[in-house]
Amino acid sequence: MQQETEIAAAVAVGSRRRGRRKPEYLPGESRRIGYLYVAPAFIIYAAFNLYQLGQGVNISFYNWDGLTPGTWVGLANYREFFTDPSIRETYMHVLELMVFYALAPIAIGLSLAVMLSRIRIRGLTFFRMLLFLPMVITDIVTAVAWVWIYGSSANIPGHPEGPLNVVLKAVGLGRFIPTEGWLGNFHTALPAVGVFGMWGGFGFSLILFLAGIMKIPSSLYEAARVDGANAWHEFRAVTLPGLRYELQVVLVLSVIGTLGTFDEIYVLTSGGPGTETSVPAWQIWSRLFNTGQVGSAAALGLIMMVIVFAVTYTLNKLLERGAGD
């Protein structure tokens, strides 16, 4: 009885308090005060990102060497994107790299994850950590190691030889090694960069896929087996649909990552031989720092940003829609 009164009093107090406040809000409903909460993050973002973005947009309309006052050229730097074959070339290279950076890691990661989930091995955590390691170490560091693996020099007697070539020769595949070395040959340089990216990328997708598979209720597999499904059917009907979100994350992240490829190009090939491994981010850097084409670099950077936005948006929406069906 006494308890009830207390509750009633509390409710009365509460309602009186609420009554004084106007207007009334439901939890989670948007309020003006929200802007205040957002302000610190927004101010930092604006000061360190938006302002520079605006500056970049401004610079992109000029022909500027980075030192002396620029001259207004309007949209000329943007027009260059459609007329300069060397820019188109960088995007073709990125498309080729996507096979190695996005598609291959997904294929390898998926098949390894399925295999690992079907068999029990001791020390799985250890192997998982091992496979994830390339993701954790900075690209710059691992790229330096890969320069050594490929052999930094041509495949000529007397020149230093990389472990990859030593192994290939030991197993009798020496005749496939290009004389210019893997990174110096016009045909193998870009795939060699790609293999590096593949090595760095598949651990990430593997970990995500493994986690995803564990999330799939085992009852689904049991049901599939009761229905007489073989391993392929299981994969097709249970595993793959269950991994939809992981696939989406890996695909989107790796595609964005490929578009932004820079570190490994800087260390492995410097965009060479010729311009064979030149990618957009590398070209932007080179125009900015090496050849003093700051306006053009800004325009290309902004175009790249828009492309990344568009690709991410489309991919996300396509995959989301797929999930809805």
Binding site: Q55, L67, A154, I156, H159, G184, S270, P273, G274
Partner: protein, 488 residues
């Protein structure tokens, strides 16, 4: 909001369902579903960008003020008595770098109130970082800025270097070296004309690019020193036939290819054309797309096809190639005086000559001239002390220490004892004779701000048969004419 939107989607789905491929439909629906949210977000973004733009819509780059030359100092040397720190940026390496350290220490001993802070970077790094460092609020005092449009030209144009004419007068620099050593560091103050005007850099050490040869291999093949270009090509063929590498070469670094090409081009073109072209003296009147340059490009491809260069040169590093040549691989190596220190100045097994002319009895022309000059930053707090430092680094004392590394003394009256028959004496003599007959052509990568990168990529592709000689010269000409038009 969501309700309104989903209603729209259904309607559109009904319309689109009958036509259009699935993917296009997807994108369409997705964009419609998101339209309201997207429009608002885009609106906010547009607003912010507009505001940001409005706030900054101004020409990038600060107004350039060109400092005039400081007055002629009445007393030379470091006259300030308080503690001074001079920051020096250079790109020296190996033995030369060690000599620089020693010279710096001696300078500090001479002027105890001076501390030298040396920042040593490699050629490529310096190229990338120098402009940033010089345009910052605390630039280094003395820098090694490469001559030509890409580096020194840009710095002069931006008013970041100090004219040195009055220092040259006070220290007598202009009396010590010939005018063509100075002219490659001369610019009109606004940086629009190269080769005339005020002095922005000074050096007394020179460079020359030519042909090194291995005497043992030459004797073994029964060859004598080629005196014409045809004889040189004959020697290449003989070496190839005998299973020797005719020209030790590695081009993954890019710059060696420029020297290889220029050494041939120096013979196909006239010295006047090349100098005018590089200095940009005739603007767009000169073209890279000439029969002579196509001939040079064809020759270099011909040599590649005949296997005259180290196999796999495209992937090999320059330093490795120099080491292998020093160890006895390859009959010839086409490169500059700077590898003398790797071969050993007193080595008598190697010799050096300038690429012989295509005409019998013609003058051999080589690429080179003044080495990396020293310049003073316009923002230096101690320009007088910096000038005293430059004078020290270009003194006869410095030259005597540097000559054994293969650096060529350009100042008059420098006496160094060089044993005859050594590779060093060959290099010094070749440079002296070329200088005497006015047969030294500047480095071609000076020609436009982007020429170094254009040449590196172009020559790599030319030598990998990915470009025809005609495509190569057209590609290079595009860069040249674009820059010359922008100057006009």
């Amino acid at each position: 909001m969501d309700l309104r939107c989903s209603g729209r989607v259904t309607r559109i789905r009904a319309v689109a369902g009958s036509q259009g491929p699935a993917i296009a439909r997807t994108i369409w629906e997705v964009s419609m579903r998101q339209r309201v949210r997207f429009t608002r977000r885009a609106g906010v973004l547009a607003l912010i960008s507009t505001l940001a733009l409005a706030a900054m819509s101004c020409t990038p780059g600060s107004k350039v003020t060109h400092k005039s030359a400081p007055p002629v100092p009445t007393i030379t040397g470091v006259t300030e008595t308080g503690p001074i720190t001079l920051t020096i940026w250079d790109q020296e390496s190996g033995q030369v770098s060690r000599i620089w350290d020693q010279l710096n220490t001696e300078f500090e001993q001479k002027y105890p109130n001076v501390t030298i802070k040396r920042v040593n970077r490699d050629f490529g790094e310096l190229k990338t970082l120098l402009k940033l460092a010089m345009s910052g609020p605390h630039p280094p005092d003395v820098v090694e800025a490469n001559q030509g449009w890409p580096d020194m030209g840009q710095l002069v144009k931006a008013g970041l270097l100090l004219p040195l004419d009055n220092y040259a007068k006070a220290y007598g620099w202009d009396q010590r070296v010939s005018e063509n050593v100075l002219s490659v560091s001369r610019w009109t103050p606004d940086g629009t004309q190269f080769g005339t005007g005020e002095l922005f850099g000074y050096t007394t050490m020179g460079e020359i690019v030519g042909v090194y040869y291995n005497k043992t291999i030459l004797d073994k093949l029964g060859l004598s020193l080629p005196t014409t270009f045809a004889e040189f090509e004959q020697a290449l063929a003989t070496a190839k036939q005998a299973g020797e590498i005719p020209i030790e070469f590695a081009n993954s670094d890019g710059f060696p290819g420029i020297h290889e090409f220029a050494t041939i081009q120096d013979q196909t073109d006239t010295e006047t054309y090349l100098t005018d072209f590089i200095f940009g003296l005739q603007g767009n009147q000169l073209s890279f797309d000439t029969p002579e340059n196509i001939q040079a490009a064809t020759t270099i491809q011909d040599w590649v096809n005949k296997g005259y260069f180290t196999p796999g040169f495209g992937g090999a590093g320059y330093d490795d190639a120099v080491n292998l040549f020093a160890k006895g691989e390859g009959l010839f190596m086409i490169t500059g005086n700077w590898i003398v220190q790797n071969l050993g100045a007193k080595n008598t097994n190697f010799g050096f000559f300038l690429m012989p002319s295509m005409q019998t009895g013609g003058t051999a022309v080589g690429t080179g001239g003044a080495g990396f000059p020293l310049s003073i930053a316009a923002g230096s707090q101690h320009p007088d002390a910096a000038a005293a430092y430059i004078d020290w680094m270009t003194s006869d004392h410095a030259a005597q220490m540097l000559v054994p590394t293969g650096e060529i003394p350009l100042a008059t009256g420098v006496t160094t004892s060089i044993p005859t028959g050594t590779v060093l004496s060959d290099v010094i003599n070749a440079a002296a004779s070329a200088s005497a007959s006015n047969a030294i052509v500047p480095y071609e990568d000076w020609a436009t701000p982007t020429f170094y990168n254009t040449l590196v990529a172009g020559i790599q592709e030319l030598m990998a048969m990915r470009l025809t000689p005609q495509e190569f010269v057209s590609q290079v000409e595009e860069d040249y004419s674009k820059f010359q038009s922008s100057r006009a």
